[in-house]
């Protein structure tokens, strides 16, 4: 009888152990399932490549931030905001240009991922850019060996430049929600004749305004705020 009771209690322990294991299995199944979920949220970026221009000649000082959000599968509307300014002094004249800019556009991720929890992306996209800026020329010196040298009056103009960009690049999730990525940009200026007196040497966000096409690149660090999973 005692032996039967011991057998029952042993079988009870085993049953409880199996039940516990099954419970753990049931609990653990949705946990492993959550690992394959994709996180969504606004991704904020800072363009580190802008800081390289601090050391160019002439130096261009500025900063650029970005924000994107995967609103639909592989589709990321993007906004980029920044400012930059530069000045240059030569024997012939002094020049300065500076202002703010913004770009609106969309990226499309072309990188197929079987595991949706992986957030690396290779994107192609387009942008529309608008810059509001001021340029100024001073101490314009004209050499004239026969009639005599002369210095012109200063010139200043407030301008708006706009352009479109075709962009492509990649972003790698190096830590959870932290991304590094680069992007190449092919820019096409829409109004190069914005100032018939001085073609801007710098259109913030676009680059050298004497070129109606420009090439640029960004190298950014991003953080995605993981608001929800799906």
């Amino acid at each position: 009888m005692q032996t039967q009771n011991q057998m029952k209690s042993i079988s009870g322990y085993i049953s409880k152990a199996i039940l516990l294991l099954l419970t753990m299995a049931v609990v653990s199944q949705p946990l492993s399932g959550q690992d394959t979920l994709r996180t969504f949220g606004p991704r904020l970026g800072l363009d580190l490549a802008r800081f390289i221009y601090f050391f160019t000649e002439p130096a261009e000082y500025g900063a650029e931030i970005s924000g994107d959000f995967e609103v639909y599968k592989n589709i990321y509307p993007v906004i980029e905001l920044g400012y930059s300014n530069m000045s240059d002094t030569t024997d012939l004249f002094d020049y300065a240009s500076g202002g703010t800019y913004g770009r609106l556009g969309v990226d499309y991720n072309v990188l197929p991922m079987k595991d949706r929890s992986i957030h690396h992306s290779i994107t192609v996209g387009a942008r529309y850019g608008l810059s509001v800026f001021t340029q100024k020329a001073e101490n314009m010196y004209i050499q004239n060996g026969y009639w005599g040298d002369m210095v012109l009056e200063s010139y200043e103009s407030s301008l708006r430049g706009h352009w479109v960009e075709l962009v492509g690049g990649l972003r790698a999730e190096v830590l959870p929600n932290l991304f590094l990525g680069w992007m190449v940009r092919f820019k096409f200026l829409l109004n190069q004749d914005m100032d018939p007196k001085i073609t801007p040497a710098l259109i913030p966000g676009y680059g050298n305004g004497t070129n109606n096409r420009n090439f640029g690149f960004s190298y950014s660090i991003y953080y995605k705020i993981p608001l929800f999973k799906n």
């Binding site: 690396h120 020329a137 010196y141 060996g145 026969y146 009639w147 002369m150 790698a172 990525g181 680069w182």
Partner: protein, 158 residues
């Protein structure tokens, strides 16, 4: 995968393009005047011997642009300080004064070369004597610092 992506990113950072603009030293805005003559009602080029030419510079001594030269054309630097430029041409013992009325403006040639002057001739306000010049014909009214080698602004008839 991640390391490859990072490697590509770093390589892109190392790539940069540098362009260097070259500036032409001869960036003066000069009017080109060709010498012409009419023979049997046909206009032809002509070379004049012993041409001396200088500009009338207010407050400055005369400075010869050409000194007893045998030439078929002259290049006249226009005065950016005024809306007129005056030149005296002498051939042997004869001389005439040529006065050109012009609008004077300035423009950015390039960021490397700086600013240059641009002149627009008033076609109705060319004043000249008649000892040397038979007539003057305007071929182009705009004179800037980007004068082409074959560009002609005036024909001076002798």
């Amino acid at each position: 995968m991640q390391s490859r992506l990072l490697l590509i990113s770093v390589l892109f950072l190392m790539v940069s393009c540098v362009t260097q603009e070259v500036c032409n030293d001869n960036s003066q805005s000069e009017l080109v005047a060709k010498f012409k003559t009419v023979i049997s009602e046909a206009v032809s080029d002509t070379t004049i011997s012993g041409v001396t030419l200088y500009g009338i510079r207010e407050g400055k001594p005369d400075s010869l642009l050409y000194d007893s030269s045998d030439i078929s054309s002259v290049e006249l630097p226009l005065d950016p300080h005024h809306t007129y430029s005056r030149f005296v041409m002498k051939i042997n013992e004869l001389s005439d004064t040529l006065t050109l009325i012009h609008n004077t403006g300035f423009y950015l040639m390039s960021y490397t070369c700086g600013y240059g002057a641009i002149f627009t001739l008033d076609p109705d306000s060319i004043i000249h004597g008649s000892k040397l010049f038979y007539d003057i014909e305007i071929k182009s009214t705009v004179i800037d610092a980007d004068t082409e080698p074959d560009e002609e602004h005036l024909w001076l008839y002798f």
